[in-house]
């Protein structure tokens, strides 16, 4: 629906149409000042729908299943269980996940890769329809990956703004209602002020374009786990990053009631000598959120970033031991899929068992969102760390 964005250019919310001319200012001043228009406060054509969608994703006891691995990354997953990286294998794997009965009880949204958004089950049912029936909102990864940031300290920036408006409109037409854009910040590399600014500004531009085209933007500046730094350093960097992000989101007139966040938890670096308990991680992470996240944001869906399945669940549970002014939940990929892959092994006879293991992880995280999770009876597999140094998606 590219026409939708063209129509909006003529609407009164446009910055340059219908504003007063220079001569209409009252009071004389020797100084030339640029005229400014007061907007109705940030509302656009999709605002109501965005707010509803964000609320629906941020519903109690539910979180996001992230299955938006690019083809190359999905290939690594398939390869780990001895499968070739073909379209039909990718389709088979995603079908296993997305047709899990009862998934909608614990999962409120699923992030897809572009290929998957247009795929169907082997019976010909569109994946987006499977999701909708379970009341799971379909989402779409819209960034075009990380590339080296010139002039930085070996850091990256995230591409994807070119043509983003029309791509978003097309995704909306296909049934997507939220988007995701992942940029990264590296503590061992600084991070440099340039890298942080670029990450924040890119996210803000993406968010504004997404909302303009009916997609709730998930805002994801991942502060990578790599490094040997203590938790205090992560807290410092996280506070800096989120301060920049919110400032630029505001400057881009993003409607905060219609976004979701996907932060990394505040933990020590992966190579730090001491591990932190879930309570310590919860305390530092909540401190950071309270200092940086305005209550208008409906939901915070944490990434797992290399934590083991059990760790990711325990940490989330620790964060939900008291009321929070936003929904605090999960948006997990590896931390939901690891056991599933290992159970499936690519064999049809393991199909049901694999789906069951997805429900086990989803339910555990659902309980963690409600602050009611207990680690008894967790499998050995779920304890395995999934940190990969220098991990690239």
């Amino acid at each position: 629906m590219a026409s939708a964005s063209l129509v909006k250019l003529n609407a009164s919310s446009s910055q340059w149409i219908g504003q007063k001319s220079f001569n209409q200012r009252h009071g004389s001043s020797p100084y030339l000042a640029l005229p400014r228009v007061a907007f109705p406060i940030r509302a656009g054509a999709y605002t109501d729908e965005l707010v509803q969608t964000a609320k629906s994703i941020a519903s109690p006891g539910r979180g996001i299943l992230a299955i938006d691995e690019s083809n190359a990354t999905c290939g690594k997953r398939l390869d780990s269980i001895g499968l070739d990286n073909t379209e039909s294998n990718r389709q088979a794997y995603r079908q296993l996940l997305l047709t899990t009965p009862g998934l909608g009880e614990y999962i409120s949204g699923a992030i897809l890769f572009e290929e998957t958004l247009y795929q169907s089950t082997t019976d010909g049912k569109k994946f987006v329809d499977c999701l909708r029936e379970e009341k799971i909102v379909p989402g779409i990864k819209v960034d075009k990956g990380l590339v080296p940031l010139p002039g930085s300290n070996n850091e990256s920036w995230c591409q994807g703004l070119d043509g983003l408006a029309s791509r978003s409109a097309q995704y909306y037409e296909q049934g997507a209602r939220f988007a995701k854009w992942r940029t990264v910040v590296s503590i061992p590399c600084g991070p440099s002020a340039l890298a942080v600014k670029e990450a924040a500004w890119g996210l803000a531009r993406y968010a504004a374009i997404s909302q303009d085209n009916g997609l709730v933007p998930i805002v994801e500046p991942e502060i990578l786990l790599d490094g040997d730094h203590p938790i205090e350093r992560t807290l410092e960097v996280a506070e800096h990053v989120w301060s920049e992000v919110f400032y630029y989101l505001a400057q881009n007139n993003v409607v905060f009631e219609g976004i979701l966040l996907k932060p990394s938890m505040v933990t020590p670096g992966a190579e730090h000598k001491e591990k932190a308990s879930p309570e310590t991680i919860a305390k530092s992470t909540l401190k950071m959120l309270k200092r940086r996240v305005p209550p208008a944001v409906p939901g915070i869906m944490f990434l797992s970033g290399g934590q083991s399945e059990a760790e990711a669940t325990l940490n989330l549970n620790a964060m939900n031991q008291g009321p929070n002014p936003w929904h605090v939940s999960f948006s997990y990929a590896r931390a939901l899929q690891n056991s599933v892959l290992k159970t499936w092994q690519g064999r049809p006879e393991n199909f049901e068992a694999a789906q069951k293991s997805l429900l086990v992880r989803a339910k555990a995280n659902s309980l963690a969102q409600l602050g009611r999770y207990s680690a008894e009876g967790e499998s050995d597999e779920s304890q395995k760390g999934m940190f990969v140094k220098g991990y690239t998606y």
Binding site: K20, Q24, R25, H26, G27, S29, Y31, A33, L34, P35, R36, A38, F39, P40, I41, R42, E232, L235, E236, E239, H240, S243, F246, Y247, A250, Q251, F256, K287, L289, K290, R291, R292, V293, P294, P295, A296, P325
Partner: protein, 358 residues
């Protein structure tokens, strides 16, 4: 360092939280000598030190008032004054469980290249002054930045400059034991709509918190003193519920939950209007992870001044008027005000003065 962690860290957090105690708020009695002169002249009282002292004693010694107050902002002269019986005001406040605060800014000056916009002075020697004020008993400070809404205002320069000044002031206060009240007042003057006020307020507050974060201010040890979001003084009025909705939405979009409380300025609203708006905010159903209270000057003192008229024999009557407003606003912080304090003289009188200068 993510933010201030020095020796006053715990004390700042405790004091900021205390000021936001439900049922309590701040009396802003920090009118400069010039400004208090205007008040006194409006009731035909001479602007001399003894009269200024007498007025403040009248307020601070009102029986029962302190139950409704968690803090009083003082002007420098008042910080060192005593009751007629010789008791330092600071002690009177402390014994009543009220934190003494101190105005530390040195007024506004114009910004070159703008259409009459201003910045606030006072950073020079601020650290030393804060130390002295702390030693004298002050535990919080206040600095008022001023912005206005016009066809080209507030300009980006005015917003950046005032936000930066507030952030510098805030961290210097914290380093010296004073909880900074951050006050970016957007004047009500003008014919703009409530939507425009909301847009500007959201933009200004976003800039303020960005600056505070950049300057490593400990948010848990600060307070915000913003304007309520209302139509301009020349525009049609709206119901308190509308003011509440717009104001809270603006705060939801900008104010991190780490900040314990908002203490609204009254900015020219009548006593009753200010109370009704505050009450509506505390009744409003929505996310409000900070307490919503008051820091009123004119809106607490107007009918008191009229009742006093500078005469000794009117003191009790004046104190009764003051207590009435204190109680009304205390109830408003709990959302339980019933509108029964609307009887006094001057209570519904608009206190708006165009292009008001403190």
């Amino acid at each position: 360092m993510s933010c201030y962690k020095g020796k006053y860290h715990d004390e700042l957090i405790a004091n900021a939280a205390y000021i936001g105690t439900p049922g309590k708020g701040i009396l802003a009695a920090d009118e400069s000598t010039g400004t208090i002169g205007k008040r006194l002249s409006s009731i035909n009282v001479e602007n001399v030190e003894s009269n200024r002292r007498a007025l403040r004693e009248l307020l601070f010694c009102t029986p029962g008032a302190f139950e409704c107050l968690s803090g009083v902002i003082l002007f420098e002269e008042t910080l060192y004054q005593k009751t007629a019986a010789g008791k330092p005001f600071v002690e009177v406040l402390k014994e009543g469980g009220v934190l003494p605060g101190i105005k530390v800014d040195k007024g506004t000056v114009e910004l070159a290249g703008t259409n009459g916009e201003t910045t606030t002075q006072g950073l020079d020697g601020l650290a030393q002054r804060c130390q002295q004020y702390y030693a004298a008993g002050a535990r919080f400070a206040k600095w008022r930045a001023v912005l206005n809404i016009g066809p080209t205002e507030p300009s980006q320069l005015a917003i950046s400059e005032n936000a930066n000044g507030l952030a510098r002031y805030a961290i210097i206060c914290q380093e010296n034991g004073l909880v900074p009240i951050v006050e970016p007042e957007i004047l009500v003057d003008g014919s703009h709509s409530i939507d425009q006020c909301a847009d500007v307020t959201e933009r200004v507050l976003a800039a303020c918190y960005k600056a505070l974060n950049d300057h490593h201010v400990l948010l848990e040890g600060t307070l915000l003193k913003p304007n309520m979001v209302t139509p301009g003084s020349d525009a049609k009025k709206v119901a308190p519920e509308v003011v509440a909705e717009y104001t809270i939405r603006a705060l939801q979009r900008t104010m991190p939950p780490a900040v314990p409380a908002v203490v609204f300025l009254s900015g020219g609203q009548s006593e009753e209007e200010a109370t009704l708006n505050l009450n509506a905010m505390n009744k409003f159903k929505g996310k409000k992870p900070w307490s919503l209270s008051f820091s009123f000057g004119r809106a607490l003192q107007q009918s008191t001044l009229k009742a006093w008229a500078g005469k000794e024999e009117n003191v009790k009557k004046a104190q009764a008027a003051f207590l009435t407003r204190c109680k009304a606003n205390s109830e408003a912080t709990l959302g339980t005000y019933k509108g029964d304090a609307a009887q006094g003289e001057g209570v519904s009188e608009s206190l708006h003065v165009k292009d008001y200068k403190y």
